[in-house]
């Protein structure tokens, strides 16, 4: 346990100090890694803690992004207020989906397909909502990008890096606390054997819904960050099923249900992706599609030989 704390502290220090020696490109890659680490962590609450496989998590990113984005675009309301609307809407969505699913005993693959259906339904729906830009997209006005304007969340890339770093650390802390709390134990019981848990008097519906609410709320914040970092939103891209898959790649590769899995997974995958691109460029193999084939093969290898994810195997090796 102590070894872990030391490692965590070192990692945190490294990340905080990163901008001092990393160039802008490295910083943008690091921001992307942290974004996926944070969103993956949010997804992990639903999957790893409550055992519900959500394959449509892009729904929350999109709704959160559009909620805060629309408030800023139409009414000039900054993200600190906008984020509450984002969270409220996403939690509502999450609870509705959760309630419908659990009430009708949808689980496993069927639940996953339900989440996909909701995400797709919303994607096409937003494509037809013209007051938030429709398929043409919503472009948020970028006033300035030199000074750190925290109120409107505008500034240099450095500001965004620290913001997402703070979010990721907060998420880590939150999940760590949750796991050790009563909720954590109830979730574990429900995940292992729901019927036995119910027999013991655990109101599984309530706890599962709580997990869905927390997960969707956290993901909403991710969406708000996305909106103000990228400054333009297209329904076709943000709600796309490939986004949902991107979100879960990190935790699944890193280790579902573990605290550090999503972070490690996000880092490994992004660095792998950039690394393959660089190597292929160096070798001169620039045929379109080659990179993704390599990427797919690595994914396949990890899934086949490290079924619980990289982190558990690594942790055992390092005796953490």
């Amino acid at each position: 346990m102590n070894r872990r704390s030391i490692l965590l502290a070192v990692l945190a220090a490294f990340l905080v100090a990163l901008p001092l020696f990393a160039g802008n490109y490295a910083l943008s890659v690091a921001t992307l890694i942290l974004y996926f680490a944070y969103t993956g962590q949010a997804w992990n609450v639903m999957m790893g803690f409550a055992g519900q496989l959500s394959l449509g998590h892009a729904l929350y990113v999109g709704v959160g992004a559009y909620a805060a984005g629309a408030l800023f675009y139409h009414l000039g309301i900054g993200p600190w207020a906008g984020v509450w609307l984002a969270i409220a809407l996403c939690v509502a969505f999450g609870l509705v989906i959760g309630f419908l699913a659990f009430r009708f005993s949808i689980s496993g693959v069927y639940f996953a397909l339900l989440t996909i259906a909701f995400a797709e339904f919303t994607r096409i729906g937003f494509d037809h909502l013209n007051f938030i830009g429709g398929p043409g997209g919503m472009f948020l006005r970028v006033a300035q990008r030199d000074a750190w304007d925290l109120a409107n969340f505008r500034g240099p890339p450095l500001m965004y890096y620290y913001a997402i770093l703070a979010l990721t650390m907060a998420a880590f802390a939150l999940c760590s606390w949750l796991l050790k709390s009563k909720a954590g134990y109830y979730w574990q019981a429900i995940r292992e054997n729901e019927e036995a848990a119910q027999a013991l008097g655990i109101a599984s519906l309530r706890w599962k819904l709580l997990a869905m609410a927390i997960s969707s709320a956290m993901t909403a914040v991710s969406g708000v960050f996305f909106a103000f970092y990228y400054n333009n939103l297209f329904p076709e891209q943000i709600f796309n099923i490939s986004r949902s898959i991107e979100i879960i790649l990190g935790p699944v590769i890193g280790g579902v249900g573990t605290l550090f899995g999503p972070v490690l997974g996000a880092a490994v995958l992004t660095l792998l992706s950039e690394g393959i691109t660089e190597s292929l460029a160096a070798l001169g193999w620039e045929i379109p599609g080659v990179k993704q084939v390599f990427y797919g093969v690595v994914l396949l290898a990890v899934v086949m030989f490290m079924p619980n994810g990289i982190w558990p195997a690594l942790a055992k090796r390092l005796r953490l």
Partner: protein, 406 residues
């Protein structure tokens, strides 16, 4: 001071870069970062644009006497990747960025360029907002969606005048994506005010760009019984639509696009053969009679002996011009310093160009005004400029031969 000491001192000074301009002007290359989607769903367009980029260094060396080095990056039709690639190119020393064809990626790269103070010349992207953000380092040598619609509608009027035909009704089909929506808004705003276009749109049918089956859409369109089809499409759906029209035996006066990709692309011809004939697209295009066009065409054929420039008219033409703009600015600025380059780009005034329209001059927003569209009709299996008359190499055919009022 003795000679040797003087020489040593000179060498030392030179080494510290005290004679920067002299050294740079002689051996400097302009590093152009070319960001295009060469894989992913925009893959085939990105590769088309790349052809325009690949022929640029030699042509520009001939024309302007400057050396440019291309740094190619593929953003895989993904906006996140576009941002990273842009950062990477800048880090590796790109002095200017060129690309990316897609509006979403353009917006992302524009932010990076602005933040890092590196000029970004957009080859093709139609979303008007990109040059409305007050950026100082972003330049676009392409029409906005609003320009495209205006030019497109005007050309339709010219077409009717030139062929002495006055259709009264049209059915408007459009793809429901970024592009289609912008065009629809533009058409809705501008059509009522154009008195030389007396046709009415009797039905509007929007469809999903990813649709694999357009039977219903075509059935609806046919049932509207309009004189001609006004179409905003992309390549794959254009092919599907044309085939479906044949299956459902619907033969309107013609298919006219007021400005969208698809019907002039090589794949359209290859797949549809004779059926591709007579489709009309009003799009920004290169002037087949311009001197620069001949030069570029020769260079294109050298690199792509089995291909024809005309199939990449829009993609390669504008990509080449974007690099030309960068090189021209470099020649005038005599420096690769980004800020100097950006200022030089702002002063651009290129009259010897290959695309249609007035000289390349940027307004305050970094947008070139006065880019004209051409009425490009598929004739003899080639996209052919039929209007405006000065650039035309053939006469327009409208209505299609064999058209009978149903």
């Amino acid at each position: 001071m003795k000679r040797r000491q003087f020489n040593t001192a000179l060498a030392a000074l030179a080494a510290t870069g005290a004679f920067p301009s002299l050294a740079r002007a002689q051996s400097q290359k302009l590093k152009v970062g070319v960001i295009l989607p060469r894989s992913g769903y925009l893959g085939f367009i990105g590769q088309s644009c790349q052809k325009g980029a690949d022929l640029a260094p030699d042509v520009i060396k001939e024309m302007l006497g400057v050396d440019i080095e291309l740094m190619n990056a593929d953003f895989e039709s993904n906006v996140d990747t576009a941002r990273n690639r842009a950062e990477r190119l800048i880090q590796e020393g790109a002095n200017v960025l060129v690309g990316p064809f897609d509006s979403g990626a353009a917006a992302a790269i524009a932010q990076v360029a602005e933040q890092r103070g590196v000029p970004f010349v957009i080859n093709i992207a139609a979303a008007p907002q990109i040059t409305e953000q007050g950026y100082k380092y972003v330049f676009r040598n392409f029409q906005t969606a609003i320009d495209i619609v205006r030019e497109g509608l005007d050309l339709i009027g010219e077409l009717f005048q030139a062929t002495n035909v006055v259709p009264r009704t049209a059915v408007y089909m459009h793809v429901n994506d970024t592009f289609g929506q912008a065009m629809t808004k533009g058409i809705g705003a501008m059509l009522p005010r154009r008195t030389q276009l007396p046709f009415k749109i009797v039905d509007t049918i929007s469809y999903d760009p990813a649709a694999k089956d357009l039977t219903v859409e075509v059935s609806k369109a046919k049932a509207a019984n309009a004189d001609f089809l006004l179409l905003v499409c992309r390549l794959n759906d254009a092919i599907l639509l044309r085939r479906e029209m044949v299956k459902q035996r619907w033969n309107p006066m013609g298919i006219i696009s007021p400005g969208s990709p698809g019907m002039y692309e090589e794949q359209y011809f290859k797949t549809l053969g004779k059926l591709s004939e007579y489709s009309i697209s009003n799009v920004p295009w290169y002037n087949p009679k311009a001197k620069l066009t001949q030069v570029v065409e020769k260079a294109f054929l050298k690199q792509n002996p089995k291909d024809k420039l005309v199939f990449h008219g829009l993609n390669a033409g504008f990509t080449f011009e974007a690099i030309l703009i960068a090189a021209d600015a470099f020649k005038r600025a005599k420096s690769t310093d980004p800020k100097t380059l950006a200022d030089a780009i702002r002063q651009t005034n290129i009259t010897e160009k290959m695309t249609l329209g007035g000289p390349i001059k940027f307004n305050q927003k970094g947008q070139v005004e006065g880019i004209k569209s051409a009425c490009v009709q598929n004739l003899h299996m080639l996209p052919t400029v039929v209007l405006p008359k000065e650039a035309a190499t053939a006469k327009p055919v409208f209505p299609v031969p064999g058209y009978k009022k149903a």
